[in-house]
């Protein structure tokens, strides 16, 4: 009898606690729904949409951008060009570590202003070796320093990309022209990809990016620089909204020393092919087998 009473009490108590926990667990969902429209919640995966569905989504995102940020933006969906396969090379002999590339990335890709975020991180390392552990990204003295060299690191668009493999929901994948992209509306924000990347190239939107309306770059693409929602991953896309339309990436145009070379691997006359065939080229952390499309080189 005594035991029954205790069991009943436990049951009742457990049920009450369970209901409370369930309600608490659902609370973020009810709050979150205020910011996410039904259309957005029901949106298909990027690859599952047909052209018409995609155009509806792009129009909706443009409307949302206008409502939220007060800026008329154009969000396109440029696709890879057949016969184009991108690669990037960077000349460590001439990079001076001025971070102009990082600034250009910040502005071009509509990064959050408060964090001064950028897809490019410039490592300052002692001359004589590549010791990433001793590399610093927070230097503020005039550059270049005589004892150091500078290595900008951004997404290497690996052909064997660990970040793509670990994504549990296929929200990130490699495109036909070599660019690794993220469907921000499909990403669940688990950050596995961030942990998997040996180049520390992915970024997480801890907060909704805040950008003054007049500073927003209105030339946007679905898979690249449109203003990201809170709680999703993002990364360098080789500025696909520019490069898939034939233009140079923003970081290349900003480089004052011409350290950056970008182009089409499938064009034997391209600058990138000349660099790969004639310079002392290496990839970062070759031993981890990621097969990057981002190369570093030295002058003789």
């Amino acid at each position: 009898m005594d035991e029954l009473t205790r069991r009943a009490a436990l049951k009742t108590g457990g049920a009450t606690l369970g209901a409370a926990a369930f309600a608490r667990a659902l609370a973020p969902l009810t709050e979150w729904e205020e910011n996410v429209s039904v259309d957005s919640f029901l949106q298909k995966h990027y690859k599952e949409m047909n052209k018409l569905e995609m155009s509806v989504v792009l129009a909706r995102l443009e409307t949302e951008a206008l409502e939220e940020h007060g800026v008329a933006v154009s969000i396109s969906d440029p696709r890879p060009t057949p016969g184009v396969s991108f690669a990037y090379a960077l000349n460590l002999s001439v990079c001076i570590g001025c971070r102009k590339c990082a600034v250009a990335c910040h502005e071009e890709n509509n990064h959050d202003r408060a964090t001064n975020n950028s897809y490019i991180r410039v490592l300052e390392m002692k001359k004589g070796g590549i010791d990433l552990e001793q590399g610093r990204t927070d230097y503020k003295h005039p550059v270049p320093d005589d004892d150091h060299f500078y290595m900008p690191v951004q997404c290497h668009q690996c052909d064997n990309a660990p970040c793509v493999k670990v994504c549990p929901v296929e929200a990130t994948w490699k495109e036909a022209d070599g660019i690794v992209v993220v469907d921000y509306n499909w990403c669940i924000g688990c950050r596995y990809c961030e942990a998997a990347c040996p180049y520390h190239a992915r970024r997480f939107n801890w907060q909704k990016p805040e950008i003054p309306a007049e500073e927003i770059n209105p030339d946007q693409a679905y898979l690249s620089n449109r203003i990201r929602p809170q709680g999703v991953m993002e990364k360098c896309t080789f500025c696909l909204h520019r490069t898939r339309n034939g233009r140079m990436p923003a970081c290349l145009e900003a480089c004052p020393t011409g350290a950056r070379v970008f182009g089409n691997l499938e064009d034997p006359n391209s600058e990138i092919r000349w660099v790969l065939e004639n310079k002392r080229v290496f990839v970062l952390k070759e031993d981890v087998g990621t097969r990057p499309r981002f190369f570093y080189f030295f002058d003789e």
Binding site: A102, D159, H200, E271
Partner: protein, 188 residues
């Protein structure tokens, strides 16, 4: 090279295959690639400054006429040339400038050269840099990687390297990101 081009096929394809690719590569005509013409060619800074504090430039030919009498009228350190400090290896004025015509440059073989063609002169000594420049791996550029879709502009040597003191002066870098970078909070 082919291994670089191999793509991963482990993920789901496009439900609508027509969405996978855009328009094919354009064929034929290419847009021009133009080398920027620096405004500083043939001009030296003087000690006189304008209202913004910028040195006023004066054309070389203002003093150095084509006749022999005025050709060497002034030398480094003299009033008009205080802005010219030569930090460019063991060369002298006449290594690059035509002593008989200061509106022109002069190649090592004696051939005269317009100031606008200064890159040819630089290339005499800086062969590896010129080779790299011609292959797009030295010197900044802007515009289109695919010149079938748009033009490109290239920097002139003098855009980045002052001819009389070509070494890059140190610059103050832009601010780093305030993101959560393990490298930044480690070990001082």
């Amino acid at each position: 090279m082919s291994t670089l081009l191999v793509l991963l096929g482990c993920q789901a394809g496009f439900a609508d295959p027509s969405r996978e690719f855009g328009a094919p590569v354009l064929e034929g005509e290419r847009f021009p690639t133009e080398v920027h013409t620096p405004t500083t060619l043939g001009v030296v800074d003087t000690p006189v400054t304008d209202v913004h504090g910028t040195p006023v430039g004066v054309a070389c030919a203002t003093c150095h006429g084509p006749d022999a009498a005025t050709a060497w009228a002034s030398r480094p350190g003299e009033p008009f040339h205080t802005g010219v400090e030569l930090h460019h290896g063991p060369i002298t004025c006449a290594s690059c400038h035509d002593p008989d015509d200061r509106t022109k440059l002069r190649l090592a073989d004696g051939t005269g050269l317009d100031l606008a063609d200064a890159m040819t002169l630089c290339a005499q000594c800086h062969g590896p840099q010129f080779r790299d420049y011609t292959h797009g791996s030295h010197g900044g550029m802007a515009g289109y990687w695919d010149t079938r879709r748009g033009p490109r502009t290239r920097n002139h040597c003098v855009d980045c390297h002052a001819p009389h003191a070509p070494a890059y002066a140190p610059v103050v870098p832009a601010a780093p990101a305030n993101d959560r970078t393990p490298l930044e909070d480690s070990h001082g």
